[in-house]
């Protein structure tokens, strides 16, 4: 009996000595105030017009009447801000999310530490803000191995579409839209505010609301005065006028479909 107690004590001491850092934050003690923040979920559904996007196997038709397929559709959503009914704004910290059509798990993400309340509006940036384009090695969504980074001319590919169209004169009729550029006139960064359409999202201790958004790829190629023609615009792989024009188009691609409370 005594012996086994001694053994336990020794184990406890050794286990304790394994701890790396005595300054590790300790679990909170009595007196912690009641929680005042909850979570909110964003769910994205990628579309082409009214059809759910299917990679590779489905033919779509652009606004210009060009047939095309889609093999890749990725984009960054960053700097998310949520506006409460009282006008106050919650800004998500480290707000960088990479959505890839090929990765179902990337199409849903949670925003934590959102103060309880009723939210009436959202805004976010399509792409990665210029600060993180000039700050060297990054982690998480921004890690430089996520297929969304230019190595030869530093910067993130903010959004990426790849596919084919019989109208494209490129090798194998490829369509390659690598949308980048974070500086000056060539910036493709766009901040958008898709409307809640008088719905609201209420964050509380019992409710994690879900905002369902659609991202419509067909908007990339739609322009009131100048629809994109795949015969002439088939390859974009650097910042410049072509990329900027597409960004002006795609800033209309997001819409809030509905909100679950």
């Amino acid at each position: 009996m005594k012996k086994s107690f001694l053994g336990l004590a020794i184990i406890a001491v050794i286990l304790g000595s394994c701890k790396k850092d005595p300054n590790d934050p300790q679990p909170s003690t009595p007196g912690t105030p009641a929680a005042t923040t909850g979570s909110l979920k964003i769910e994205l559904e990628n579309m082409v017009d009214t059809n759910e996007l299917v990679l590779n196997t489905v033919n779509y038709v652009s606004a210009n009447g060009d047939t095309f397929t889609v093999s890749k559709f990725n984009y960054f959503i960053s700097n998310i801000k949520l506006t409460k009914s009282d006008g106050s704004v919650y800004v998500e910290s480290e707000s960088y999310h990479l959505v890839k059509e090929s990765d179902a798990s990337s199409k849903t993400f949670t925003i934590a530490n959102v103060p309880y309340g009723t939210y009436t509006a959202i805004s976010f940036m399509i792409g990665v803000d210029s600060a993180r384009n000039v700050s060297g090695a990054q982690t998480g969504a921004l890690s430089q191995n996520n297929d969304m980074y230019w190595n030869w001319t530093t910067g993130y590919i903010m959004a990426k579409f790849e596919g084919t169209s019989p109208k494209s004169p490129a090798t194998n009729h490829l369509l390659t839209y690598h949308m980048g550029g974070f500086k000056g006139v060539n910036s493709v960064l766009r901040t958008v505010t898709p409307s809640f359409n008088s719905s609201t999202a209420t964050v509380s201790s019992s409710v994690t609301p879900e905002i369902h958004m659609k991202a419509d790829l067909s908007e990339w190629f739609k322009n009131p005065t100048n629809n994109v023609n795949f015969a002439t615009t088939h390859t974009i792989h650097m910042a410049g006028a072509d990329a900027k024009a597409i960004a002006d188009n795609y800033q209309k691609m997001f819409s809030v479909e509905h909100i679950h409370n």
């Binding site: 060297g136 190595n151 650097m238 910042a239």
Partner: protein, 346 residues
């Protein structure tokens, strides 16, 4: 009794579970690293924010710098084209060799004082020391490798498991950790102890000869506008009148900016250690300092973007050429190239 034995076994097991893997001792031990801003120099651009210096990370960066697994066929490391004994330029190579017998498009520059760089590469396409290695690693005519393949190879290596754990506390190999370790190794490459530096700072009683001082004067009159002290470059992009190489068709800075006004402009290289880093120019076309003088005297090709300071060329007498060469030799930093901390530890 039996119970006691069990406890003893548990204790022993736990004791060993606590132990970290035996440390890998580098062949060339690193005894110190520290940031330096030599007297009279501007503040560096890169000061290791979010990348606290440690000997373990520096050493990991050194192993990575000399690691051939960073290339697609495991034959080319950073050190292949950046050789320690020539201040990390590529001796006798106009253009560097990549994997599969590929030729690069540009001459390998020396590597040192990179914390002062406002951009990287001859065209300035890379904006930060931490992400610079991504360019050669992924360039098809250099190391031709996918960054995720590099991570997979390093993750599978027993050696790197230990080195990453020593540097970061656990074995996980990530892009960020790899890049930051490389930045520590490259960022510690300071060259500021040439004879010229010692003379300027009045250290060790170093004097320059009359010829070297004459060369310094000519340099100040005719070269200093672009090769500005104390880094001996102003980091600008200029067209210095080289004919366009019809094979390479390299538009230089314009390749990055898309601006026709930047055509055929390349970054002004530093003149520090210049007598070690031949051949010269962005494509290594000039093999000696004499050829460089000839180019500036009579080889300049006029074009829309030719630098205004070079419209009339630069004329040097035979004596001035000899004097400038003597002066440039004082910019060779032997303490830098002889520093064991930067040599291949394997």
């Amino acid at each position: 009794m039996k119970k006691g034995t069990v406890y003893i076994i548990i204790c022993i097991t736990l004791f060993f579970a606590c132990k970290v893997d035996p440390p890998i001792k580098p062949v060339l031990p690193v005894d110190h690293i520290e940031q330096v801003t030599p007297p009279g120099w501007p503040q560096p651009v890169y000061t290791f924010p979010n990348n606290p210096l440690s000997i373990e990370k520096f050493s990991l960066g050194r192993d990575l710098f000399y690691e051939e697994m960073l290339s697609s066929d495991n034959t080319v490391s950073c050190g292949t084209c950046h050789q320690n004994f020539v201040a990390f330029a590529n001796a006798d190579h106009m253009l560097s060799h990549g994997v599969n017998g590929a030729f690069g498009n540009r001459n390998s520059p020396g590597l040192f004082n990179m914390n002062w760089n406002t951009s990287f590469m001859w065209d300035g396409g890379v904006n930060h020391i931490e992400v610079q290695p991504l360019a050669p690693i992924t360039n098809p005519v250099e190391m031709n490798e996918d960054i995720n393949n590099v991570l997979a190879k390093l993750n599978a290596s027993a050696k790197y498991k230990v080195l990453f754990k020593q540097a970061y506390g656990d074995e996980q190999v990530t892009t960020e950790r790899m890049l930051k370790a490389l930045a520590q190794f490259m960022g510690m490459m300071y060259s500021y102890k040439s004879r010229f530096d010692l003379y300027k700072r009045g250290e060790d009683g170093v004097q320059l000869s009359t010829q070297e001082l004459n060369g310094y004067q000519v340099f100040q009159q005719k070269c200093n506008a672009c090769h500005k002290e104390p880094l001996f470059t102003d980091y600008s992009f200029r067209n210095n009148g080289l004919s366009v190489n019809s094979n390479l068709q390299d538009s230089g800075r314009a390749h990055i900016t898309g601006d026709p006004n930047d055509r055929y402009k390349f970054k002004v290289p530093t003149l520090r250690n210049i007598m070690l880093t031949a051949p010269y120019m962005h494509d290594g076309r000039l093999s000696s300092m004499e050829q460089v003088f000839d180019h500036y005297a009579s080889g300049i090709v006029p074009s829309a973007t030719l630098d205004t300071s070079l419209q009339a060329g630069i004329q040097l007498s035979a004596q001035e050429r000899e004097d400038i060469k003597a002066f440039l030799s004082t910019l060779t930093d032997y303490s830098f190239i002889n520093d064991d901390r930067f040599k291949d530890p394997n």
